[in-house]
């Protein structure tokens, strides 16, 4: 049913970004040509090639690690902690100054709506630097023991779903604790990391403190397996996380992993339904569902199932799918053809295994990678769409009758990253939150993030935390706890 009120296009101008025809690697404070084969990065909303980017070879990674080691030994390591903090404050401010440019570039390269890159990704990235800047000269007060010391060179590999935010989650704590970094951005979203390299230059950050080596899996492997890397931090799939854990086995390298999830979002019959529906939508359709902590399994109490689903479908019908740069867009493009194929495959399995697919009537652009918001009802816990991470805008709905059943079903997963609870009863929130085996529990809200708030998983969702006091420990030695 078409509304009498139509939205006029409200496109954010892309003139604020200036994309070069090609990019090199950022090593030792300078852009240099990579020796691997260059690759193209595309705008997933249009399939337009944005630019060509160098792929870092093992030799390039070696140069980057050597630069990071030099910086650790000669400049960043010996520097007064207060000065390290001031560099991070500078970076936070520079990010704020150029926030719109970063947001537009992120939406172009990733496909996410400008509303999210502008209001979530980039402000939070700046906040991470600002927060960690303050820690740099206060580590003795973090309650981690009398003499926390940096590990050395951190090799960091990040995913494509929140490119700039994940960079901030990795780089800010590493630098605040006195480490230097070699960071490999995701193959499909390298551009904001390369723009961040310019920020490092504008901040006069000493050469080698931050090195950015673009490339695909081979480049990441070279970073992880490099013999002079002291710390490996990875965010991405559980499958790759396992291979990284195998690769660092038997070494002295410290490892943190932030991996996949299949979060249960539990709605009890006393929940305020309208708020819960907003939370369900936010939980699964935020960032096209390309979120490791997405609320991809809706567990709704049986007696309100029909009411919740009807309300949810009504709400989903109002979501606007399309041009990521349009300020009214709710759901942008799927990040890559490969990811779109994966979402389609799992959704087809959902139907084949007996679940009911529902999608709103919505026009999708002719070019680019798109998938409409999708709800599967009649999902059984055995279905692949109830067990595997789809990493797309696909919600699986299951039901429960009792709180015990809700907890059992929520915990029936190899993952344990996040969960949601919707109920008006406070004591129930605390009881269920206690029983859920998940690292982040959102009660009467979902998908909230903050630099002061530790984030990370239980079980096969990984180990280590990012954010808060806990996030510092992964980058320090000589601390009383890790």
């Amino acid at each position: 049913m078409s509304s009498p009120f139509q939205y006029a296009p409200a496109p954010e101008s892309r003139s604020i970004v200036d994309i070069a025809p090609s990019y090199g690697l950022f090593i030792d404070g300078e852009f240099v040509d990579g020796t691997g084969e260059a690759f193209k990065t595309v705008n997933p909303a249009t399939e337009e090639v944005l630019t060509e980017v160098s792929a870092g070879s093992a030799a390039d990674v070696d140069r980057a690690v050597a630069a990071a080691r030099r910086a650790f030994t000669r400049t960043w390591g010996p520097m007064r902690p207060a000065d390290r903090g001031k560099y991070l404050f500078r970076i936070a401010r520079l990010l704020q100054e150029r926030a719109r440019e970063f947001a537009v570039l992120e939406s172009l390269d990733n496909g996410k709506p400008i509303r999210e890159s502008r209001d979530v990704d980039i402000p939070l990235a700046a906040a991470h630097f600002f927060y960690h800047a303050g820690w740099a000269d206060k580590l003795d007060f973090a309650g981690l023991g009398p003499n926390p010391r940096p590990l050395g060179v951190a090799g960091q590999v990040i995913p494509w779903n929140f490119p700039m935010l994940m960079l901030a989650w990795k780089v800010a704590p590493a630098l605040a604790t006195g480490n230097t970094v070699v960071l490999k951005p995701a193959e499909t979203t390298p551009l904001t990391a390369l723009l961040f390299a310019e920020i490092c230059q504008q901040a006069d950050l000493p050469p080698g403190v931050v090195n950015i080596v673009t490339g695909a899996g081979d480049t990441g492997r070279a970073v992880v397996e490099h013999g002079d890397v002291d710390k490996v931090a990875f965010t991405g799939s559980t499958e790759v996380g396992k291979s990284i854990a195998r690769a660092v086995a038997g070494t002295r390298k410290s490892l943190t992993l932030e991996l996949g999830g299949k979060a249960a979002n539990i709605v009890f019959d006393d929940a305020p339904i309208d708020q819960a529906v907003e939370g369900i939508v936010q939980g699964i359709f935020f960032n096209q569902g390309h979120v490791c902590c997405a609320g991809s399994r809706l567990l709704v109490q049986e007696n309100i199932h029909d009411e919740v689903i009807a309300s949810l479908q009504r709400r989903i019908g109002t979501l606007r799918v399309g041009d990521p740069l349009d300020k009214n867009t709710d759901i942008g493009a799927i990040n890559s053809a490969e990811q779109l194929a994966r979402i389609r495959e799992l959704s087809d399995y959902g139907e084949a295994e007996g679940a009911n697919r529902w999608q709103p009537a919505c026009d999708l652009p002719d070019r680019g990678y798109w998938f409409p918001p999708t709800v599967f009802t009649d999902v059984s816990p055995a279905h692949r769409i109830a067990r595997e991470e789809v990493f797309g805008p696909v919600l699986s709905v299951l039901t429960f009758r009792t709180p015990d059943e809700a907890v059992a079903k929520a915990n029936n997963s190899t993952y344990g990253l996040s969960a949601g609870i919707w109920t008006e009863k406070g004591s129930r929130i605390l009881k269920i939150a206690d029983q859920l085996r998940a690292g982040v529990v959102w009660a009467n809200t979902f998908n909230k993030f903050d630099p002061t708030s530790p984030f990370g998983g239980y079980k096969q969702s990984g180990y280590g935390r990012e954010g808060g006091r806990h996030g510092l420990t992964g980058y320090l030695k000589g601390v009383t706890h890790s």
Partner: protein, 288 residues
């Protein structure tokens, strides 16, 4: 001269609160440091290890769900009951490790005191390791430590009692349940510790003690999908990397062994508690 013939003990496994023989029927000879026969210990099998994991998983809800105060009292009770068997532990440690009487006594003293140290930690971890997080928005946000789950422990090969307690007690203090492979050559104090645990209000299944060979049992525990973490302190020489690789297949939390066995007499700090703790962060809106 006392001519009474002693009643010897049959040294068995400790699994799910009971003392079974190995289902495999296997035993191996345990000798003192000079090679004299001490006992035939049960040689645990893969099946015994799996049974122990089932028992540990079954006990996890009860143990982790206890109040921290209650858990602390139970661990303190272990120290109390151990104290009553002080002489027996000294004799077993002296024979097994070849220590002088005074050194064996020091090791037993330290082992008992270690339970006391960890008993006092249970109700402080939340305050020391958790806290509220001042997020930039109208939310109450707090983080608390929670136990990882079922932890496999390859106990030290040299220090058969103090070393064992030093790796086991922190796992329990954090609220985990444990499957322990004891020192292969010196397993007897572990079996006696099992008798202490069985009479100290530690619920059955919370601690499972397998005498036998970590080389044989380690890989099964490292790859077991219902084991959440593994302490490789007592891993056979040269096998730790392989076990860590196996553990990666299920993203287990791993404590790597040090190059040589640690000096167990030193202050352990929190270093053995935190590897088997998870941090849970909970958000709730603030509003009227």
């Amino acid at each position: 001269m006392n001519d009474r013939l002693a009643v010897r003990k049959t040294y068995k496994l400790y699994v799910n609160g009971a003392f079974p023989r190995s289902e495999s029927g296997r035993t191996y000879e345990v000798t003192d440091s000079r090679g004299h026969f001490l006992a035939n210990a049960a040689r645990a099998s893969r099946k015994d290890a799996r049974d122990a994991v089932v028992a540990a998983r079954g006990a996890f809800g009860k143990w982790s769900g206890m109040t921290a105060y209650n858990r602390g009292q139970v661990l303190y009770r272990v120290a109390e009951v151990m104290e009553g068997r002080h002489t027996q532990f000294c004799a077993e440690v002296e024979a097994g490790e070849g220590l002088s009487g005074s050194k064996a006594r020091a090791a037993v003293d330290a082992a008992i005191d270690r339970w006391v140290w960890y008993a006092g930690w249970t109700d402080k971890l939340g305050a020391v390791l958790g806290g509220s997080n001042p997020v930039a928005g109208p939310y109450f946000d707090f983080s608390i430590p929670e136990p990882t789950g079922v932890v496999a422990v390859l106990a030290p090969q040299q220090s058969s009692l103090l070393g064992l307690v030093s790796v086991l007690a922190p796992v329990l203090a954090a609220g985990n349940t444990a499957v322990v492979v004891t020192s292969k050559q010196r397993p007897l104090p572990a079996v006696t510790l099992g008798e202490v645990l069985a009479t100290s209000d530690v619920p059955g299944g919370v601690v499972n003690l397998l005498t036998g060979d970590a080389e044989e049992l380690g890989p099964w525990l490292a790859e077991h999908a219902d084991v959440d973490g593994i302490d490789l302190t007592g891993a056979p020489a040269g096998r730790a990397m392989e076990l860590e690789r196996e553990a990666a297949g299920t993203v287990k939390r791993v404590v790597r062994p040090s190059a040589t066995e640690p000096d167990w007499s030193t202050d352990p700090g929190l270093s053995r508690i935190t590897p088997f703790l998870e941090t849970k962060t909970v958000w709730h809106p603030i509003g009227v």
